[in-house]
Symmetry: D2
Subunit: 301 residues, 4 copies
């Protein structure tokens, strides 16, 4: 395969690991800042007539990493790269895919178009917020193929192994997360369910697992993202009140606003795990193997 892998400064180590997994060359990118804050970018290797795979995530300072990405991709095209494949493990601007209020920016559309216009021919990302945007939605805003790889199976397998869970139930914290629960559960042959809000009376809302009884069971709660931790804390409260024996929390993207991790642990999760799409203290599962597998299959075909 005549491909090379490059990394933006958000995830150089993941770029290196992806190159190893794909058994292709790793090309270094020099990046630094000028005094007025602008980035300097230089590609330190030969990319002419090659497929260039660029890894860059969008956490903490997404705008800085995006600009750097645009500079890298445009330069790769200038230098004669045959094709540019973007790998954006955490895709930040995915919240706003419709105008909830008049005048709002459709950031998902704008950012996706910028990524495409910068010269990206194909895009890989991981578990883009489902209740916000599906893979199926991208074709409406871009002609660039977008592949939304899921880390749920790996998270579930890791949880089973690391915490020795017995006959666990996988739970999504809300209806939108049922999808994640199902994908994770199927990978480990487990049951799954999600937490449903039921209006009991004018003033009471009950939140409970929709179908299954978690009493005395080991529970793995899965979601795409833990940001402030609010959704996860509520879910932990519910399954504990319902009598769960043990509770492990898992997510793909550990955004983890300050204090979120402590809040989730304090709510009664035995532990919390995530992937490395965003570097974090709980990034136990790497998305490199699943990205490598997905990329390999397409490059071969």
């Amino acid at each position: 395969m005549e491909a090379v892998v490059l990394g933006g400064s958000s995830l150089t180590h993941m770029a290196l690991r992806l190159a190893k997994a794909l058994e292709v060359e790793y090309v270094k990118v020099e990046t630094r800042k000028f005094p007025d804050g602008e980035k300097y970018v230089r590609i330190l290797g030969d990319v002419e007539d090659r497929i260039a795979i660029v890894v860059q995530s969008m956490y903490h300072r997404p705008d800085e990493y995006l600009l750097e990405y645009f500079l890298i991709v445009d330069t790769l095209k200038d230098l004669g790269a045959k094709k540019v494949i973007g790998v954006v493990p955490y895709f930040a601007y995915a919240r706003q895919d419709q105008r909830f209020k008049p005048g709002e920016a459709l950031s998902l559309k704008t950012v996706t178009k910028l990524i495409e216009n910068a010269g990206t021919d194909e895009l890989y990302t991981v578990d883009v917020h489902r209740h916000r945007v599906e893979e199926a939605e991208f074709p409406r805003i871009t002609r660039m193929p977008v592949h939304n790889v899921t880390a749920m199976p790996e998270l579930a397998k890791y949880a089973i192994r690391a915490y020795d869970l017995k006959d666990p139930i996988v739970i999504g914290p809300d209806a939108e997360a049922e999808h994640w629960a199902r994908v994770a559960a199927e990978a480990i042959g487990a049951d799954y369910d999600y937490l449903e809000k039921k209006r009991i009376s004018d003033r009471e809302v009950e939140v409970r697992p929709k179908r299954l009884d978690v009493r005395g069971r080991d529970v793995l709660i899965v979601d795409d993202i833990i940001s402030t931790g609010g959704t996860m804390v509520k879910a932990i409260d519910v399954v504990r009140r319902e009598g769960a024996r043990r509770v492990i929390a898992a997510c793909t993207h550990p955004v983890l606003v300050e204090g979120a991790l402590a809040r989730v642990l304090e709510a009664g999760a035995e532990d919390v795990i995530a992937t490395d799409t965003i570097p974090s203290p709980i990034s136990r599962v790497s998305v490199v193997p699943i990205l490598a597998k997905s990329i390999k299959e397409r490059l071969r075909s």
Copy 2:
């Protein structure tokens, strides 16, 4: 005129002042950050079928301000704006307009294309680094008209008035700055010159004013930008050594890396002044009137 002015968060007050100067409506833009660092943008006014003038500078956190700009412009077009005029008083990514080393990003090109692709129909900026890029260079990288307005006359007039300079000489710190010196000098009917490097021997280089004698004269040194202050400090050293009576330093863009201002003052400048393209402690001259004048003339025609 059916135009409106909007401001990105870098310069909302300048947007407001520009709206007043142009006697058109000021439309507010709501901006805030989500916990993962991504920006939320909302246009709080009617822009349909109108010319939208968007003010955003590129200092300190240029990438964040650029992304915000892209979101604003794309939204304006979605909302039916007839035309989008970008006003970027300080254009940061202007250093790299050619590959000094192989593999370098041509950031000027990439950023200009991104600005155009985001939906900008016409761009105003102020004193883009001449030794790096001229107005004449933009047509090679973009079809979007780019207007490079100069603040040098206003800086010179302010200096004369505020410091009561007597028959001053305007000096550019190097050959590339002769242009700035000439434009500033013409506005106040003064002489101008620049500092020339002359090789005296294998080991000696002499730096002196090329044509004029500054002995006993009031000197105004002008440049496009003061960043670390290095260039300006050397120029002040030279004119003082040559016997200048008084020295005032002026620049359009006060990037002012930490300590730069003290360094320039310590070198012997009586004072340092700049415009407000970047908010700073020395931003004495506003670029609003010259931008307003330039925009008005074109909108009328």
Copy 3:
């Protein structure tokens, strides 16, 4: 006078200007950051047996500037400085001087004690929030003398001159700001008043100038600080509704959270001015002369 002036990285240029005003030596401080974020500090001059005056403000990144200040002061004492005088034009941690809720930090006390314990013998600051802390309050928390210099007279004089105000009234936006209005008014021989909240009925509150009629008058609204701009915007609304002819807003400390300046201008202030305790686009009045005067008087005595 055997004193020297040094500046932390927040205000090196003010340190230099203060040294000139006091006609004493300016001693440079080298500062930079290690990769883990810690600061390196080095005093580049002789301070043994001298009075060292250290200028450092507390805006934007107050904690970083404070730590730097502690390192500078402790080093000065190590190097044999006879006395250390701190000059902190904007004193950030002045909000919390009592426990509004149980368990709250009394940051004013903690930070003042840290400043004292680091080796400060005497402290100058400018217009510390009056409704929060008076000069008279410091003796309760520190034995170090604290001098609270006011910039109100200079702000008022500048406003009169720059905007050619005719027989103006100086207004404080609330009862706590009456003090500022009085001090500013006395300096220019003007009337002053403040805006009073009056409960009209259970549901109505009326805000009006307590004593004076602003109809047809030029009004200068003064406060210690403009942060989000909320208080100032309300005050402008009131005096305009009451028929003021012209309105200028002024404050000592332009904290100016993003967008604040545009909000105040949009509310109808003709212009907004402030001092340079925090660098800002509206820092028209320098506190150097008043600090120099106050320090000189005490050093002489």
Copy 4:
């Protein structure tokens, strides 16, 4: 034990985990920022007459975390805490323990004194840079007891287990790291050595393991810190050139300046591991158990 554990915002999750390990109450701390950048701190629990253990690390924004720590500790004393035990897993200001150049700040001394003066009665930290400062050095600058706990045994045990190393040699990258290598090696019953610089001629320096032959052996390189990765990269180069079979790199504190991790992996380390004193993508080993053990022993006695 009448103790409680509290966490600064750098490591709330570690505070919670330490509370669990010590089987004592976890007391929440509310922290947020005012618009001018100053921190608000509130202790949300009862600490009167109790031993308060405060966890706060010093990475990324050490000054902000330090100020927060000072505010927490001073408040704890105000609220009647009997004793305050500081737990600072990564102690940033440990570089400058002597004046290498005249006028330099002795930051280790200044920061330690500030920590003591804020009200800390006893301090725990982990693997403070040995070539810079030993536990034995603290008594010269503070009367507060300082306990320097080592994570080397846990790192070594984890490496053996996770990578199935066969009869490994533990190597320190330089003479100063021999200590770390010895402590790590003893924990797993392995040989250890360090890399020695030998001057071969005027122009050549040879770097080699001092005593042992690494040919065909599994090597674990250990150091206290990986910052830019330079030292570690050189060490990996040497042991690979000397014929090591496998190389794993380990450190206590993963400061990891941008790109450092990729550099170390690219140099040929099979993997890199670290502790969680600084959250990082390679924080595989928690220091909670060793801190808990050390604190428990002393609290009991």
